[in-house]
C-alpha cells in the first residue's frame, strides 16, 4: 500500500472574497478606456450589471 504525503497548492475561499451576495456593491469610480472617470452605479442607471475582475488587458 502506497503512503502518500500531500503538498497542496493554495486554496482560495472564493465565496468569501469581496462583497457578499445580498450586499450592495460598493461605489466604484475608475478611469475607463475613453480616458474619463466612470461611476459604476451611475453608469448602470438602474440596469443590471456584470462586473468582471481580470488581471490585465496587457498580458
Amino acid at each position: 500500500m502506497a503512503d502518500f504525503t500531500e503538498l497542496p497548492i493554495p486554496e482560495v475561499d472564493a465565496e468569501n472574497l469581496g462583497p457578499v451576495v445580498g450586499q450592495r456593491f460598493p461605489d466604484v469610480v475608475l478611469p475607463s478606456q475613453t480616458g474619463s472617470a466612470l461611476d459604476l452605479h451611475e453608469h448602470r442607471n438602474g440596469r443590471k450589471a456584470l462586473v468582471v475582475f481580470h488581471r490585465s488587458a496587457d498580458w
Binding site: I9, V52, W59
Partner: protein, 323 residues
C-alpha cells in the same frame, strides 16, 4: 488607459473597461490575489513584478439596485469562462443547457465534454469544456507519471483544419509515493479543462454552405485509489456541430488566430524569420509584417506562452499535451 483603449479597439469592446491603477479598489474590496506566488510556484514559474496587485479572477452580478445577487471566482486566471457561461451561472439557467455534449464513465470517474454552441464558424475561437468528476477516494495522475501509468490527457480531432492549444491540465496536488521515492502530481474531486480551438481556414476551405462537423474529444486517464489502480482508460467523446459559412473569414481576428498558430509553430525552436514565414504559410494569405510579429511575440512572451531562448530563438513555454 492607453492599454485599455488599445485592447478595446482591437477586440471591438463596447462595454466599459476600468483601470484600477495601484490596485486601490481591488485592495478595498478584498480581492487582492495574495496567493499568486504559490500558484506560480505550483506551475514551476517565478512571480514577476507586474504580477503584483492583480485581483483574484471573478465576477459579480448586480441587480437593478446594485445588490450582489450572484458571484463566481476562479482558483486561477487560467480558468476563463465564456461570457455565456458566466451569464448562465450568474443569471440562471436559461433552459438551453450545453448546446452539445457527450459523457462517459468508468469506475470512480465520470467524464463530460461539451460546447456552449452547436454552430461554429471558420476561424472563430471556440472552446470545448471537459469535466472529470471523481469519487471521493479517487485520483488521476498528471504528468509526469510513474512508469507504466497513464496521465490525464485531452486532445481534439475531427477536421484537418482543427487547431487547438496545448492542453493545460491543472497541476493538482503533489503526492510522494514512498515506495518509489519520488514525487508525482495528482488531481482529485472535480477537474475542469478548457480546450480553445479554431477551424483554421482560407477561402478554399472555409466553405460556402452549412455542413456537419464532428469534433472528437479523445480523453485518456488512469484512476487510482490509495490502495489500487484501475486499468488505463481511453475514450472518444463526439460532439456533433454544424459549421456555418463565415462570410468574414478573410477578416480573421488576428489577435485570436495568430497566437494559436504561433504556439503550435514554436514547439521546436524557431528564429523570428522562420516563425514569420511559418505563420504566413499557415495563415495562407494573411500577410503578417515583421513589426506585427514582434508585437504578437512580445504579448505572448509577457503572457508566458512563449519564451526566447539564450540562442535568441523562440520556443513554446506551455507544457506539452500528453501524447
Amino acid at each position: 488607459m492607453e492599454t485599455l483603449a488599445r485592447f478595446s479597439d482591437r477586440h471591438g469592446v463596447s462595454y466599459p473597461l476600468l483601470a484600477d491603477v495601484g490596485s486601490v479598489v481591488i485592495g478595498d474590496l478584498g480581492l487582492l490575489n495574495v496567493t499568486l506566488e504559490q500558484e506560480r510556484a505550483a506551475f514551476g514559474r517565478p512571480i514577476e513584478e507586474r504580477h503584483r496587485g492583480i485581483p483574484y479572477p471573478g465576477s459579480f452580478f448586480l441587480d437593478e439596485d446594485g445588490i450582489v445577487v450572484g458571484k463566481r471566482f476562479e482558483q486561477s486566471h487560467r480558468i476563463r469562462p465564456t461570457g455565456r457561461t458566466l451569464l448562465r451561472q450568474l443569471v440562471g439557467d436559461d433552459g438551453s443547457g450545453p448546446a452539445v455534449g457527450a459523457e462517459s464513465a468508468s469506475p470512480g470517474v465520470r467524464v463530460a465534454a461539451w460546447l456552449d454552441t452547436d454552430v461554429i464558424y471558420a476561424n472563430q475561437l471556440q472552446e470545448v469544456n471537459v469535466r472529470f468528476d471523481l469519487d471521493a477516494d479517487v485520483h488521476l495522475y498528471t504528468n509526469p507519471v510513474p512508469d507504466g501509468f497513464r496521465p490525464v490527457g485531452v486532445q481534439l480531432r475531427g477536421d484537418d483544419r482543427l487547431r487547438a492549444d496545448p492542453v493545460e491540465i491543472e497541476p493538482g496536488h503533489k503526492f510522494r509515493v514512498a515506495g518509489l521515492g519520488d514525487t508525482f502530481r495528482v488531481v482529485e474531486g472535480q477537474v475542469n479543462v478548457a480546450l480553445p480551438f479554431i477551424l483554421l481556414s482560407n477561402r478554399d476551405t472555409a466553405g460556402d454552405r452549412a455542413r456537419s462537423l464532428t469534433v472528437v474529444v479523445d480523453v485518456g486517464y488512469q484512476a487510482c485509489t490509495a490502495t489500487e489502480c484501475y486499468l488505463p482508460e481511453q475514450v472518444s467523446l463526439e460532439l456533433a456541430l454544424v459549421e456555418e459559412p463565415n462570410p468574414g473569414y478573410e477578416t480573421t481576428d488576428r489577435a485570436a488566430v495568430v497566437p494559436l498558430v504561433m504556439r503550435r509553430l514554436v514547439e521546436g525552436p524557431k528564429t523570428g524569420a522562420e516563425l514569420l514565414a511559418l505563420v504566413n504559410a499557415a495563415l495562407d494569405g494573411v500577410e503578417l509584417s515583421s513589426a506585427e510579429l514582434d508585437e504578437f511575440t512580445e504579448e505572448m512572451q509577457a503572457d508566458n506562452t512563449i519564451d526566447k531562448g539564450a540562442d535568441g530563438r523562440w520556443l513554446s513555454s506551455l507544457p506539452r499535451a500528453p501524447r
